[in-house]
Symmetry: C2
Subunit: 352 residues, 2 copies
Amino acid sequence: MKIAVFAGDGIGPEVTAQALRVLDEMSLPGLTRFEGDVGAAAYRRHGHPLPEETLEMARAADAVLFGAVGDFTCDDLPRHLRPEQAILGLRSELGLFANLRPAAGFSGLEHLSSLKPEVARSIDLLVVRELNGDVYFGDKGERDSAGGREGWDAMSYNEAEVRRIADTAFRAAMGRGKKLTSVDKANVLETSRIWRETVIEVAREYPEVALDHMYVDNAAMQLVKSPGQFDTIVTGNLFGDILSDQASACVGSIGLLASASLGERRTDFGTFGLYEPIHGSAPDIAGQGKANPIAAILSLAMLLRHSLGREEEAMRIERAVEGILAEGVFGGDLGGTASTGEIGDAIVRKLL
Amino acid sequence: MKIAVFAGDGIGPEVTAQALRVLDEMSLPGLTRFEGDVGAAAYRRHGHPLPEETLEMARAADAVLFGAVGDFTCDDLPRHLRPEQAILGLRSELGLFANLRPAAGFSGLEHLSSLKPEVARSIDLLVVRELNGDVYFGDKGERDSAGGREGWDAMSYNEAEVRRIADTAFRAAMGRGKKLTSVDKANVLETSRIWRETVIEVAREYPEVALDHMYVDNAAMQLVKSPGQFDTIVTGNLFGDILSDQASACVGSIGLLASASLGERRTDFGTFGLYEPIHGSAPDIAGQGKANPIAAILSLAMLLRHSLGREEEAMRIERAVEGILAEGVFGGDLGGTASTGEIGDAIVRKLL
Ligand SMILES: CC(C)[C@H](C(=O)O)[C@@H](O)C(=O)O
Ligand SMILES: CC(C)[C@H](C(=O)O)[C@@H](O)C(=O)O
């Protein structure tokens, strides 16, 4: 078993360090890990946010544990050298087409949400976002027009792309509440029309799952109004970017939320994937021991589950996290005083 | 002064009828009004959701008062005959490029929001959405691809399009808190890069307005987390569709929110525009006297203000609405028992 670790920038290294302590604690036999550079750190060292060596390391691994990228030094770089290109490059180069973003309230932490506690408590959903297509990866550029310079981007989805992500979403829904909401803008977009028609086709293979369709504007409304109605949501790259962040904000405690980006490649133990906290690199608090490592640690749990087939270890970690939260071991983001290292300590102790 | 009234489908006619009672009460000298067919009603009568006569009526008017469109009978029609084409057609044919969607909490009604009362109370923002461009009106279609049928849509903005809406937004911000947040996805889209560069250029003409930029995913997050931070938001057609609905949901009382869609054409008294409630046609409750006419009545107030230069009458209506809400005249949507007509009665009485 090989894990590639890309800690990245800002608080990335310090939260990833705690996840690695937890991993060490598991003492998995035959596990090796490699560390690679990404983001601003990689740009400084190699002149590119996603060096070829990093990519090779990922290709040779069963899974990638990712921290976060981005810092103030990169604001003025041209887009192709900016840290977020590392993320986009990894997604496309590694064929990571399925982003899984669970959003669920942590009991006892409802007060952290800006939603009413009873609404926050009702949230238990999974957003399945397509990551390899849509307007993200279409042709794009600038041209002259009668109205001056014009920026343009091509949006599209074909049946094969939609089938693949729909399949992932239906399977995820089968393991959850068997309710899938497909989000599109089929009243305006041809891309969405193909999306919807294909999702309906794939649904035939999953007769147990109740499928419905929602326009993206309505979904954004419903996610605020009554997020408890959702079980599994499947949507394209752009709408998924927006809705998954919105769903996380509804939960309130963003320092606790993890994500998985899965590819098609099967490993000996599961599916190749990249795992990362949903929070960013937060350069303003980097290096101060203020970052919450829980999202990174829960990303590791997802890695163990999906890429290494280690459900038992994944659950051990998740229980340990729940345990210390129940005991009130909170970092500053949750209204407590525990440092990054102290939270890591507490989780490691709980594992025993 | 000429007003075209397009009541449309579902609850559209009954809420519009109450708005017209209020308008009659104002006894504006020299005002004439015309009624035209749109939506499913127009399709049934004329075979098209936006007949040429309706369009002509709008062109000849100083303003359009719009109800809502859409009902169950249209679900199986091809897209170009569906009721929403009436909305899209009016926007493009009439050059309605600026959608103004105020979202503000009504004091005493915070409990209707799913947000905590103190968060709901803090909301007082205006979304300025571009309505004539973006992926809505670009080329689109279906083609064959290696992955089967592929749906595609062209997204774009040019400098002239952005300048026009940015100008509207800066002027709106000047009349509010002098803070403008431009929302885009400039880390991924070329369309957004031109958008952002142009907004920055226009900002030079409005040195008093504090401008910031936010990625759309972050904006969706912040609108839940701390909506009170926003004053005026300007964004493109697609992001505006999503964020303005999200903002309305944050307020909670959707039956109270109105919107204006302004064109470039100047009338003798202001700017040509179309005014409508943000709620839809709600065919399930149509004809039962259950619909809340307040959004339609507040749409009329916006019409009087922006298109007819009647600030005084607009404020009279807005005060009357606040008055009856303070007295607890609530329809079913606000937890009360007042019918559509009773709410209209109460507002008309308050005007006196
Ligand atoms: C950094 C950015 C390109 C990226 C995206 O838009 O996908 C991010 O917002 C995310 O959701 O991972
Ligand atoms: C009906 C639909 C085409 C329309 C849009 O997407 O603009 C609606 O959602 C709106 O916001 O007015």
